[in-house]
């Protein structure tokens, strides 16, 4: 378990899987999938899980690291993962979703992000962390600037987003040398535990 101030990162187990039907049919999933239509049956979710497990088994030498995000009192909030790790390039791509919208804007995602960056750089010795989002995701764009990621590429007209048409894709990166450490980031952002 990676212990943060507002959240802990824990194995993505049954407590999280049980939420997926609700989560995947919510607005949160629309943002996490870059504009996917969100009506999914339980069967479809189970099938997706099985396929995902198979894909992972097939992609040998490409591990992924998957965490559930939960509040300090244990309520599942979503997931954060290095879902595409190329260890021979010391490169990992992040993906995350706070699936409970009432927790948006409260620093929970940022706390989780700091934890996984610390883990990626200090434990897995990654050289670079990168991630992609869509241009209309203002919350993520603000978070990227705050945490110190660099906007590296704008892929024009990359996502077809329900209700928005074609939207640019943005790629952000952070090099190991640019990571000031979790403590420094917590101080800089004024992140505090809540009681």
């Amino acid at each position: 378990m990676l212990e943060g101030l507002l959240v802990d990162l824990v194995p993505y187990g049954k407590r999280f899987l049980d939420q997926e039907h609700r989560w995947h049919n919510s607005e949160a999933w629309f943002w996490a999938t870059a504009g996917e239509w969100v009506i999914v049956s339980r069967d479809a979710i189970n099938r997706y899980r099985a396929e995902e497990a198979e894909r992972r088994a097939e992609r040998h030498n490409i591990p992924s690291v998957y965490f559930g995000i939960q509040t300090k009192d244990g309520k599942p909030l979503g997931d954060i993962a290095m879902n595409w790790v190329l260890p021979y390039h010391r490169l990992a791509m992040l993906g995350a979703c706070i699936s409970e919208p009432e927790y948006w804007g409260g620093g929970y995602g940022t706390d989780a992000l700091l934890l996984i960056l610390d883990y990626a750089f200090n434990w897995l010795d990654m050289h670079k962390i990168w991630l992609g989002t869509m241009d209309i995701n203002e919350r993520v764009k603000r978070q990227m600037i705050k945490v110190g990621f660099v906007l590296e590429a704008r892929e024009r007209s990359f996502h077809m987003v329900d209700g928005h048409g074609w939207v640019d894709g943005l790629l952000y990166g952070m090099l190991r040398d640019e990571w000031p450490g979790r403590e420094a980031m917590i101080n800089k952002l004024g992140l505090k535990a809540r009681t």
């Binding site: 030498n61 490169l91 050289h127 990168w130 590296e152 892929e155 024009r156 990359f158 790629l171 090099l175």
Partner: protein
């Protein structure tokens, strides 16, 4: 066969499978597969790759050759994603003599023609190592826009190097006929490689090795 101006697209069979055994171990292959590990590809792995692509419903492996029938390389179309009408595409100039020639460029243009005029894609992505000027030139001539630089992205021969990102949209594609006319493609005039010896008689080949 689909005929282009300087090259033709052909099924990936016969000599191509044999050529791929060396192409998959050449610099051009690894530069076209930046995300993959730079490791030796054995005959078995090459065979498996061809089989995988033949069964691949979201992709295709296609050979391209000069007008005199000389195999140049392959174009790879993969991970077609119908919702956003996108695919990952790659041109591998296996025969290194053709690097930077208009035949190589025409291979890319024929691939784009397939993407936009057959598959009706919305967007095609391309990547190149930051020092690979031959590739930049090829993408630029084909009409790609430079969309960004992924800093120190992958490990390459003793250093971390940048990757340049390119993109081309369907409404920027003027059509194969128009663009080839505008570019005025010129054949390189390279002599064709000598034909490969037949390899289908496995036991016979083995006996030859023993002699």
């Amino acid at each position: 066969m689909i005929e282009g101006k300087l090259v033709d697209l052909v099924p990936f069979e016969d000599d191509y499978a044999t050529y791929l055994e060396s192409w998959m171990n050449e610099e051009a292959w690894f530069r076209a597969h930046l995300w993959e590990r730079r490791e030796p590809h054995t005959e078995d792995m090459v065979k498996k790759f061809i089989e995988k692509m033949e069964k691949n419903e979201r992709g295709a492996l296609i050979g391209f050759q000069a007008k005199n029938g000389d195999p140049i390389g392959c174009v790879i179309f993969d991970h077609e994603w119908s919702r956003v009408r996108k695919a990952d595409v790659t041109v591998v100039v296996g025969d290194t003599r053709y690097e930077g020639t208009d035949e190589a460029l025409d291979g890319l243009l024929m691939l784009l023609r397939y993407c936009f005029e057959t598959r009706s894609l919305h967007r095609v992505d391309a990547v190149a190592l930051t020092f690979d000027e031959v590739k930049f030139d090829m993408y630029e001539r084909a009409g790609f826009a430079h969309e960004g630089t992924l800093r120190q992205h992958i490990r390459y021969d003793g250093d971390y190097v940048d990757i340049e990102m390119f993109g081309l949209l369907e409404d920027e594609w003027p059509g194969y006929e128009t663009i080839t006319e505008k570019l005025g493609l010129q054949p390189s005039g390279l002599e064709p490689k000598p034909k490969l010896e037949k390899k289908d008689d496995k036991d016979g080949a083995k006996d030859n090795d023993k002699k």
